[in-house]
């Protein structure tokens, strides 16, 4: 604090308070709507305070979903979302660790070429090459499978790049010492490199879990069977059916459940996440 200006401090708190309200309002409205019977959401103004049906609405969607939108249970969708998110997260971390390890600690022909091939993926987000990628996955017969859902999203230039930057800061003496002790490269990787990378892995876990859980376009294309539906992609179908048959209490309950896991991860791991995000992307 440079100087004491009481009115400015109050103003700061006031502005931040408004900010928190703006950020929280959509989530609050959704939560309130998810606790009311459908009759309460038929005409304006809708209630601003939670109603009596929290348990009823949530158990209804978790067990039988919304019938006009295919009736897939939200519990199944969440299971699929968890499988997708965890597979993408751990897959990305694992293959990026290995790739960065090879690029930083080994000397071999085509090392730079490999690095650039991986780096190029930064310039190729799914959204822009969507039709041919779908064609490739269809040709490999991977539609409607967990492999097709996750494997194409596992390559990660960002994670590889991050681990590479971190590995390059590791003192050479450590490698020399481990060489003198006769440790193989993989022993060095598992016994020294992995434990040292713990913080980076934790920060990446948060970022990648959110990335994986929130996938939308990819599952929308790859999964046409209900048994592979994920929660984030299914919301759209529920909203479309709401035009004819407004089930907003159930749609909002599903939205809340779709937000819950990533929000919990971010809030629980806030410190490591903020540090990782701001440091890695800068």
């Amino acid at each position: 604090m440079v100087e004491n200006r009481p009115w400015l401090n109050s103003l700061s708190h006031f502005v931040l308070f408004i900010g928190v309200i703006v950020v929280a309002l959509p989530i609050w409205i959704a939560f309130v709507a998810s606790t009311h019977p459908p009759e309460a959401l038929l005409s304006s103004p809708i209630p601003m305070w939670p109603g009596p049906d929290l348990w009823k609405n949530y158990s209804e969607i978790l067990s039988s979903g919304i019938s006009s939108a295919g009736g897939v249970s939200v519990a199944l969708m969440m299971k699929n979302s968890f499988i997708m998110a965890l597979f993408i997260t751990f897959g990305k971390i694992a293959i990026s660790l290995l790739a960065a390890f090879a690029i930083v600690f080994f000397d071999f022909p085509f090392r730079m070429m490999c690095f650039w091939i991986i780096f190029m993926t930064l310039m190729l987000p799914v959204e822009v090459r969507i039709v041919p990628t779908y064609a490739v996955v269809a040709r490999l017969d991977l539609l409607n499978s967990y492999v097709g859902l996750t494997l194409p999203l596992i390559a990660s230039a960002t994670a590889t790049f991050l681990f590479r930057q971190f590995f390059m800061t590791i003192p050479k003496e450590l490698i020399e010492a481990s060489k003198i002790d006769g440790a193989s490269p993989m022993k060095f990787f598992f016994d020294i490199l992995l434990p040292l990378s713990r913080t980076n892995i934790a920060a990446l876990f948060v970022i990648l879990f959110i990335y994986g859980w929130n996938q939308y376009l990819w599952p929308l294309l790859i999964t046409s069977e209900d048994s592979y539906a994920t929660i984030v992609m299914s919301i759209q179908r529920m909203v479309m059916s709401a035009e004819a048959d407004p089930q907003w209490h159930l749609i909002m309950a599903t939205s809340i459940l779709a937000m819950l896991p990533p929000v919990i991860v971010v809030v629980a791991m806030q410190k490591v996440f903020v540090k990782g995000l701001v440091e890695t992307e800068k």
Partner: protein, 295 residues
Amino acid sequence: MQSGQTVAYKNKILPYLLLAPQLIITLIFFIWPAAEALFQSVMVENTFGTASKFVWFENFSYILEDSHYINSIQITAIFAAATTLTSMSFSLLLAVMADRVIKGSTFYKTFLIWPYAVAPAIAGILWYFMFNPSIGILAYFLQNLGYEWNHQLNGSDAMVLIVLAAAWKQISYNFLFFLAGLQSIPRSLIEAAALDGASPFKRFWDIVFPLLSPTTFFLMVVNVVYAFFDTFGIVHATTAGGPASATSIMVYKVFNDGFVGLDYGSSAAQSVILLLIVGFFTIIQFRYVERKVEY
């Protein structure tokens, strides 16, 4: 790449084995489809999809003369500019305030961090619900103020809806980076200015804001890239490009022309144009990172 790696392992097969998973996935699911997009963008299929012929840049000249595509480019530019400006100015205001307060800053941080974790599609739905013409809480307030909100009929209403949803989701990210940027500004500079009698507002515009410009520039690039490529879910889940293509941003159009319109040549040409745009932004971002490392 570090040049002085003298302690590197020399092993003939192991590095390739380690790189294999990443490289194979990259080649199959990234390079191959991108090459295919490139190839298809210079080909035209006949009506039955049984034969195709090489047409040079006909697809490109076709879409670049197509008024729908020009319209989509304009819409994307407006959307990206509005989203970036809204989200960044709001986040900067909050970050400046959070930088001032000592009590409760963790509390504010925790509450402002949420939207980062929310999927774009869900963020879209939340705002869609609040603006729902018949029961939405914001539509209701606007109606009381005398404005009949209807994003299903009015193109500008629909644009405001997706801009707000996209900007809301990006608040956390911008806030965290602005706050980190503000906290890295030396306190002594601000104290010196305060001793010279500069008011908080003057200090902000003359010292803090210029020193923050690297962060601002970085965030601008990130936000534009986000608005261009990560907002497909918002559009698809709410307005579906409508009404009358008023919110048909470029990534939505690629998808729609390819999967709904089944116009592969045009969709591939659009893909290639988007690839060039991503490439451009990636290079800017990378240049920036490199320059930062130097000083």
